[in-house]
Symmetry: C2
Subunit: 155 residues, 2 copies
DNA sequence: TTCATACATTTGTATATACAAATATTGTAC
DNA sequence: GTACAATATTTGTATATACAAATGTATGAA
């Protein structure tokens, strides 16, 4: 990935908002690529990891598809097939809800739980490394700025 | 998309680094989705827009594929087909480089330039709106934090 | 000149994502 | 109970992305 300086080199006087937008995009790509390559070493995607975490959060209670979908960070328009992948890998199981046969019941398997237990401490380390150069105060400021950005729009 | 509070609701005591990572991911998704839906109204992707901007930056001088690729924010492993899409839409033209027939020469068309001229002021407005709730000082802090994050890793 | 190697891009193939339409089930009005 | 709408998920199809292999071209050595 190209650094911000390289990008700016060609357009010397970029307005501050545009520079900030590009900086944000470049940094989030950098961040995501780090995480993705980590997850790839376990042969899952970030989306799949996210679903596993949601299912673990259910604490044994099965989740149906709509619940998973609504709790995903990045709404995926095809959660069925995402779950299919996890079933193939035997990290989750799916069955028809006995109360309402339109719904499905999705649960994380023992193998899925074990995967999370392996991944999580490593992930914590990576996340810590990515923010290691920030002071405690900067971390707090960063969080509040991010929340302000999300709050800035109605949608 | 789900808000950070909703995500945190289930896991009350998240460590600060993890909370920050999730906050960052959620916010960058929010940001990207805004931009993507804007570009979609012009029937192009962010990647395609980015290539058009790179080509405009060449100021008439044709770019070859490797140059475009190296200047892209998000390295796409299939720039050929990305350019194909832009050719279909008649925003760029591609020809074989006469000096070195392995290379191609890619230039933005008049129609592509016009598209950028239409898009750019609207895009500036959107970017400004997304950061509207930040003070000047916060914007500067935000930029320096983002650069620190990118600088935190060797890769 | 001929061969091997490096280079620049394209193509094949697998997987991922987006959106709309289809399927199946349930609830409700009559 | 039948018909119709609402709900929950799946499937079809188009497009996007990732990575490896293939193609075509240039360069340098023998």
């Amino acid at each position: 990935m190209i650094s911000l300086n390289d990008i700016l080199k060609s357009n010397v006087e970029l307005p501050l908002f545009k520079k900030t937008a590009i900086n944000f995009i470049v940094t989030s790509n950098f961040f995501m690529e780090h995480l993705q390559s980590f997850f790839k070493s376990y042969d899952i995607s970030m989306q799949q990891y996210n679903v596993l975490r949601i299912l673990r959060g259910q604490k044994g209670k099965p989740a149906n598809l709509a619940t998973v979908q609504e709790r995903m960070i990045h709404k995926n328009s095809n959660t069925t097939r995402l779950i299919d992948k996890l079933i193939t890998k035997e990290y989750v199981e799916r069955s028809i809800c006995p109360n309402n046969r339109r719904k499905v019941e999705i649960v994380i398997t023992k193998s899925g739980m074990q995967l999370l237990e392996t991944i999580d401490p490593e992930l914590n380390t990576i996340e810590t490394q990515l923010f290691q150069s920030l002071t405690q105060e900067e971390i707090n400021t960063f969080n509040s700025i991010l929340e302000k950005i999300r709050g800035s729009q109605s949608s």
